[in-house]
């Protein structure tokens, strides 16, 4: 006896399809692979695409073009890259668009830096002058030292302005941290 079903039958119920494919993968009855038909049903929103990656196609992920779905939510995009244990998206164009989006957000830039464990260029690091909480974390965890002289001075300029207490504390914490190093690198 065979049980037949078409993945298109799950258009209105993609979560169920994820669960079925997960069971099929776990039982060894189906070898995960990139299937555009399945992606059409499931991967229409970032959160569900992440769940699909995690449970159905771990370390394989979505097709090159379908990865664009994560551009709708860069935070989930970072979780996807983390799940895939890789640094970039398969398609260079998508990677560029993703980078462009996160360069506006210090929290996401820091999250991404944690995955790739690499410093960004000085121009890109300027983003951290928008949020000293993440600037402090980035300096400690990724640079493991102070920012370049140019960015460091930009940050110091802010200490004269009015800042919310959380930002002020983070800025002061960063300055104390930077003082531990003999000189600010140029």
């Amino acid at each position: 006896m065979n049980i037949d079903f078409n993945t298109n039958d799950f258009n209105g119920n993609p979560q169920t399809l994820i669960y079925i494919l997960y069971q099929l993968r776990k039982s060894g009855s189906w070898i995960p692979q990139i299937e555009k038909d399945i992606e059409d049903v499931i991967c229409t929103i970032p959160s569900r695409s992440l769940k699909y990656t995690k449970y159905v196609v771990p370390l394989i992920g979505l097709s090159e073009s379908r990865e664009a779905v994560f551009l709708k939510n860069p935070k989930i995009a970072i979780s996807y890259l983390k799940e895939m244990k890789c640094e970039t998206f398969k398609d260079e164009k998508i990677q560029k668009r993703f980078k462009k989006k996160i360069l506006k957000r210090p929290d996401l830039l820091y999250g991404y830096a944690k995955i790739i464990n690499k410093r960004f260029s000085e121009d890109e690091e300027v983003c951290f002058t928008k949020d000293f909480v993440y600037a402090n974390l980035y300096a400690r965890d990724i640079i493991k030292g102070p920012f370049s002289e140019k960015i460091h001075n930009m940050i110091l300029l802010y200490s004269y302005g009015n800042l919310k207490s959380m930002q002020k504390n983070a800025l002061e914490e960063y300055v104390r941290f930077a003082k531990r190093f003999d000189k600010i690198p140029s």
């Binding site: 006896m1 065979n2 049980i3 037949d4 079903f5 078409n6 993945t7 298109n8 039958d9 799950f10 119920n13 169920t16 399809l17 669960y19 079925i20 069971q23 099929l24 776990k26 039982s27 060894g28 009855s29 189906w30 299937e35 038909d37 399945i38």
Partner: protein, 167 residues
């Protein structure tokens, strides 16, 4: 994309097949009970109970396996709104298996209000189970042994049992 799952391929992993069918039915695939499916899936009392929950019926041979598990059997009978298994030999097996473990004997007594055949299982059972059981059926048939035990062991559950049994 079309999937065609051969039921026989799930012989060694029936729980996956049942979970898949359950989800397919949730998506209106209407897969119904049949002998081949039951044969592949119904290997353990737990799977049999789950199978029953999905398809609403099980065969006599599955009921016979189910009777080994007191707790699942009680759940099954409750769903059927029955106090006993319809077939006498299955009912006997159900009571026999319930007498093998004190915890099951308490479950059985709580469900049916009756004693199990052999209460000696309570001799080595935790005292709170003896108390729970006696609250349902009254004085145990091994009462004398428990009295002797109470002289050596000053356990509060045991004391409470003797106090109750004296009424």
């Amino acid at each position: 994309m079309l999937f065609s799952l051969c039921v026989q391929n799930f012989k060694k992993k029936p729980s996956y097949l049942l979970k898949i069918i359950k989800e397919l039915n949730r998506n209106n695939h209407n897969i119904e009970h049949n002998n081949e499916l039951e044969e592949v899936i119904c290997k353990t009392p737990s799977l049999i109970y789950d199978y029953f929950n999905v398809f609403g019926k099980i065969s006599e041979s599955s009921e016979c396996i189910l009777a080994k598990n007191t707790y699942k059997s009680i759940c099954y009978l409750k769903k059927l709104k029955q106090n006993n298994f319809a077939l006498a030999h299955i009912q006997e097996k159900f009571i026999f298996c319930a007498s093998k473990k004190a915890e099951n004997a308490v479950h059985y007594a709580r469900f049916s209000g009756n004693r199990v055949n052999d209460e000696s299982v309570f001799l080595k059972a935790p005292y709170y189970l003896i108390l729970n059981y006696s609250k349902i059926v009254g004085k145990l048939t091994i009462h004398e042994e428990l009295e002797k035990l109470a002289k050596i062991d000053k356990n509060s559950f045991l004391k409470e049992y003797l106090r109750q049994a004296s009424f």
